[in-house]
């Protein structure tokens, strides 16, 4: 299959290893991966801030460059929700509405794509550690992804998956919310980290680097032993 991998701007800039692992995993499964140079951002920051015209300036370009893709795999549940759920709303009643709906149908979040499109759960990975999984809200509630990342983790050798009390509670990132209301965002992150630490896990895993950026930022600042890691880093047998 020809897969167009969309590595969102902040993953490209701060977490390039996540994208590299995804390329390796998809290629090892025998697929042809392309990463369009011209696509950088999905437009969600402006959209969530209420600036829909400005969001369309970004989304329009993404829509154009991804128009011929057979399948778009995106390295974030949140950006995935933007393409799958919010593009059709952003372009409702506009000439691009059909293109937005068509892109929505062809777009997949990474773990969802592996499990529910490719039917793969065992990637041959080994990761000897106790981990707990954080459900990013957009992946969980906008895209309905709950079991896919867990099915993938269950097949990883020597990995022990433990659920935390607040697995489905928001970590407090929320995009510009984290900067506009840092005190609330921080309190939410602290609740989340405490819940993850209570499981005794060494790692908090997620399929969304944005949540992990916020959580790791808090853990590092507070010198906590708990670490965060993206799902793709665990799944790639290297």
């Amino acid at each position: 299959m020809n897969i167009t991998l969309f590595i969102p701007c902040f993953v490209d800039t701060c977490f390039p290893e996540v994208g590299r692992h995804m390329v390796r995993i998809l290629e090892r499964l025998g697929h042809r991966v392309t990463c369009p140079e011209a696509v950088a951002c999905c437009g969600q920051p402006a959209f969530n801030s209420g600036y829909w015209d400005e969001a369309r300036q970004v989304a329009g370009k993404t829509l154009h460059h991804l128009r011929d893709a057979e399948a778009v795999v995106i390295a974030s549940g949140s950006c995935g929700a933007m393409l799958k759920v919010f593009y059709p709303q952003l372009y409702e009643g506009r000439p691009e509405a059909d293109a937005a709906r068509a892109l929505s149908e062809r777009t997949w979040e990474f773990s969802d794509f592996l499990v529910n499109r490719l039917g793969v759960t065992d990637l041959g990975a080994r990761f000897p550690a106790k981990v707990t999984f954080h459900d990013g809200c957009h992946g969980l509630r906008e895209l309905g992804i709950k079991s896919a990342p867990r099915k993938l983790l269950e097949k990883v050798r020597d990995l022990e998956l433990v659920e935390m009390t607040d697995a489905e509670t928001c970590c407090g990132f929320g995009g510009t919310f984290a900067a506009k209301f840092p005190m609330i965002s921080t309190a939410m992150g602290e609740v989340k980290c405490a819940s993850a630490a209570d499981t005794g896990a060494e790692y908090m895993v997620s399929n969304d680097s944005s949540c992990l950026m916020h959580l790791q930022g808090l853990l590092s600042r507070q010198s906590k032993p708990l670490k965060t890691i993206h799902l793709a880093q665990i799944l790639d047998p290297q």
């Binding site: 951002c41 969530n48 600036y51 919310f177 939410m188 808090l218 590092s220 600042r221």
Partner: protein, 464 residues
Amino acid sequence: MSIAAQQFLEAAGSITRNLRHRGLIQTALRKYEAARDRKKSAFNDWSAARQSAAETKWDAINHLDTYLAEFASKLEARGTKVHWCPTEPEARDTIRGIIRDSQARCIVKSKAMTAEEIHLNEALEKDGFEVVESDLGEFIVQLRQEPPYHIVFPAMHLTRDEISDLFERELGSDPTREPEELTMIARRALRRKYLQADVGITGANFAIAETGMVSITENEGNARLTSALPRVMVTLLGIEKVLPKLEDLALFLPLLATAGAGQTVTGYNTLYGGPRQPGESDGPVEWHVVLLDNRRTELLADPEQRDALHCIRCGACLNVCPIFRNVGGHTYGTTYSGPVGSVITPHLRGLQDWKHLSNASSLCGACTEACPVKIDLHHHLLQNRRNAVGDAPSWIERVAWRAHAFVVNTPALYQFAQEVGRIVEPLRRRLQGTPLDPAQSWTRTRDLPPVAGESFKEWWRNRR
């Protein structure tokens, strides 16, 4: 920034650092969640129940004119006086008039968020009346002279010790840590008031159009005493409380109890059909039903967010909201707090003054998932943000988002921005924690990841 927004930021800043508050609320609401999940599993199909409830409320709200007229005419047929109040002052003045006409001195009141909405107690107290809240939680916050913390659990932010101290100070009781004893102290104080009261004021959970009845649900029996003992009964309710048929309660009563409090069904469920009828020996001689609009019809005129009028005020969205769980009910500065409050307050009290509540959300969607009548709460917050920008954009933000669009849409500029990020990283690290740090709203509590030495796109290019 509006005054309300400044107050919100200040209050949120201080309460989020209060670890005692955080622990208290998280513990209480985790217990609620466990109880709610147990009761939800008693439904054959919880999601079908929600769907059915949403459809019933959709019908009720979309035919509100017909159902309200039916409700009022059925009530009037049994001798109830119905008052239509378009605004907050009209509702207040109507109730003040009823109370003056009945030559009342003492008033008992059961729980009614609509009364908070129209600031009824303050108005009546200013007129020289004594108003006593009879719901235990409301009684406690009234003694503390503060508004309810939560629409269903008004005193959930207080510990037993704090309540004991309050009762000792205000009622002269002996200190105790036993909930039963604390309840008995309040009960002794309240029983006297029921007997003295000339007027009883209640809220309503549902207004049944088919039969012209008001349904009130409660756990303490205080609403029954409030309505049954005084000579005059006043019921204040928002016009959105309508349900078309009596049989709708078969779903809505357990749905409300489960979603709101993790109960199978609330302790006392009473249907009121009219004042004392000829030949009856008890009940109020007069019953006044006050229907409040207070800009609800403006919300009704908004096809995108009309479903916010489905709200049955169960509080489920507050209970699961991670923002509410960290900032608490008082921080909002509104009658209705939590997600539903953030959605409707801009409609009820002005978008520009209250838009900050729609921004103060991570849009996690836990509220929408919990809502028993399927209000699309977190998407309405997004729409409020869009509408607020549409009415009055911030030009600084608009320029910033245009600049962002220009940079991410121009690969050379985007790469250049990453390069700049790498170059200034050492300087940024030195500035971290100082007011000169441009990312201080992030870095005050969190480390910021550095720009990677090689971006993904660079790796991809080099690899080929």
